[in-house]
Amino acid sequence: MKAEFTIPVVTNIPTTPSVVDGAMAHSRPFVAKSDHQSALGFPEELVEDWHDRALAKMKELLGKYRSLQVFMDSCVKCGACTDKCHYFLGTSDPKNMPVARQDLMRKVYRRYFTFAGKYFPWLVGAVDLTREVLEEWYSYYHQCSECRRCSVYCPYGIDTAEITMAGREILASVGIGQKYSNEIIGKVFKIGNNLGLPQPAMADTLLDLEEEIKEDIDVDVRLPLDNADAEVLLVTPSADFFAEPHVDGLIGYAKVFHQAGIPWTLSSHASEAANFGLFIGNDESMQKVAARIREAALELGVRRIVVGECGHAWRVAYSYWNTLIGPFDFLDPNYPAPQHICEATYDLIQAGALKFDKEQNDDKVVTFHDSCNVARGSRMGNMPGGQFIIPRALIRASCNHFVDMREDSIREGTYCCGGGGGLLTDDLTELRVKGALPRVQALHEVIEQYQVTHMAAICAICKSQFTKVLPFYSLGMDMIISVHQLVGDALVMGSEQ
């Protein structure tokens, strides 16, 4: 793959780079156009009194989020987080060290909101809020995928994602939003999903898929849309409807429901699990996007809500839904609300409702990429860490050959794919390729050692990101697959036991 930037070298031993000041200072995503801004209630362009409005917004957020207030004060500059961010490891830019990313805001916080910064700015590194500072925020708060890896290692649990979200919220509120995220949120408001896929197109796509499955395995597996008799509403990232390899995951879910005899449906009103309101730190947007799902569930009269494979969507569903759009007292209390598709499949396996022919996947040696938002921002099952156990259990149930990557690159220490947090856009290709380095490094190791052929994931963003960036590292784009593709391929269909 040719690139206009230097592709990092995958070495045999992972190393921490020396800092190269300003290495990624040029990286910035496209700025939101006026209509992308106004659809979300943000000013259309940089407002004249941006300075005062930015500070007022910062003050508001400091009073709204304990996390932000405590994190601004508590950092001791111990440096424990400095080598934990994949964007620093991949770019060498010191401002991509989590603490330095926080400091972009902290030095302004100190200048205007603390005694030390007001009277002794030079001592504590406090600076005035200038246009340059704002530009720097725009650049580096869009070099953070809000993956929370840094928060695992910080002795005070400082989560840079919270600060990035606040930074983006402040920027958008003075008129400098990010095009990619804001445009997508606008589409969900208007049409119901990130892709802007209207109901008829969705219905067509699902019919095509049903035919495809029929041709493939000669079973009438349905992918129902707006079916009022359904017990389960499946909400999944819209990429699952036709992006590769996502769609094979969707087929996998359909096969599981079919085989378990669970009446289920998709909804054209809530045709999107993704919720980019989280990425831009705007809880009003997050609530508005999520509200469609509650509406659809009530409208269709379903008893359960199941969420498809998507990292941040699962974080929003698991951690935020109950607060934002709950309570879910209209759903069946015998099931967690919401439930992850992996939990649903896992429970069916435990109950003996699914049979597998693992040999169907014998052409693969599989490893598993823990998605950051699932790993560090949510849970599955009823024990801490279930989010690591359950997807692996599904892979083991459907594959004979599974290996894990290096311990510090999986589970709670997992590296982000490099494209999360609203950065999955072509105007950030360099950042995405470089940010993928630590994951590619760990993948490279298991390829060398165990001849791994495929990496399974449970996140639409991870899947799209790896499809795009793996070729830059001379790896096949089709290495990345859905966990439910493995499940679907190995699932024994039909009633003969």
Partner: protein
């Protein structure tokens, strides 16, 4: 009584006031600010006792730091633990009679003083030797370490080189507690040691030393992972 005694008595009262009021105000702000959403860094405990145990491991063993960087953990943990012992040793200046457990721990305070020196030197060394840590260090970060090192050094020098009249020092502090100061010996080493402590107390609420109360309010550490089971409504106002 000398002017020095009055000066130091006044300084200690003022510093103590700044420390207590300053920290109380910050804690008030932390406590009042809502935590509207569930954001524990997972895997997280799913019960309240589980969270208490997580906070215990975090504040006593520095668990996350241990995961992150063994050297920083080693120096940081040695420094903090040694400081605790040294502080306990210093309780004898405020207690009459000295409690038994304080008396038992006190002798270790001397070694702990050396351990503090070691820990602080290691932490400061990192600020010069590791390019990433050098990059994030502001003047205040260096000064804070310098201040602590100076306090420890003057303390150790009083133990080993120029002794001071510790009976008089004790009388002074017991006097402070009764709002009836007794004369303070005026040898330079003691006065330096105490002046630096006064500075440390006064800057506590306006510096990164706020990490001490802050860690208990960190939502990524102190929240229970149960958003599906219980509807979290952390918004108090609005």
């Amino acid at each position: 009584m000398s002017i020095v005694t009055y000066l130091y008595a006044g300084a200690f009262y003022l510093a103590a006031l700044i420390l207590v009021v300053g920290v109380a105000r910050k804690v008030g702000v932390y406590a009042r600010t809502p935590a509207p959403y569930k954001i524990p860094t997972t895997p997280a405990p799913i019960t309240m006792p589980g969270v208490a145990w997580r906070m215990f491991r975090e504040t006593v063993f520095f668990e996350s730091l241990f995961k992150a960087s063994k050297w920083t953990w080693l120096f940081g943990w040695i420094f903090h633990f040694a400081m605790l012992i040294v502080l306990i040793r210093h309780l004898r200046y405020f207690l009459d009679p000295v409690w038994l457990w304080v008396a038992i721990i006190s002798p270790f305070g001397v070694y702990a003083g050396w351990a503090m020196l070691l820990g602080l030197s290691g932490l400061w060394g990192r600020r010069f030797l590791v390019d990433r840590v050098r990059y994030i260090s502001a003047p205040s970060d260096h000064l804070m370490l310098a201040l602590l090192l100076a306090i420890v050094s003057t303390g150790l020098m009083m133990k080993y080189v120029w002794h001071t009249d510790i009976v008089a020092v004790k009388a002074f502090f017991l006097g402070l507690l009764r709002f009836d100061p007794a004369p303070l010996p005026s040898d330079p080493l003691l006065l330096t040691h105490l002046a630096l402590v006064v500075i440390l107390m006064a800057v506590f609420p306006v510096s990164k030393l706020l990490h001490a109360p802050g860690v208990f309010f960190s939502p990524t550490r102190n929240q229970v992972d149960n958003p599906r089971e219980f509807r979290h409504q952390g918004i108090r106002s609005s």
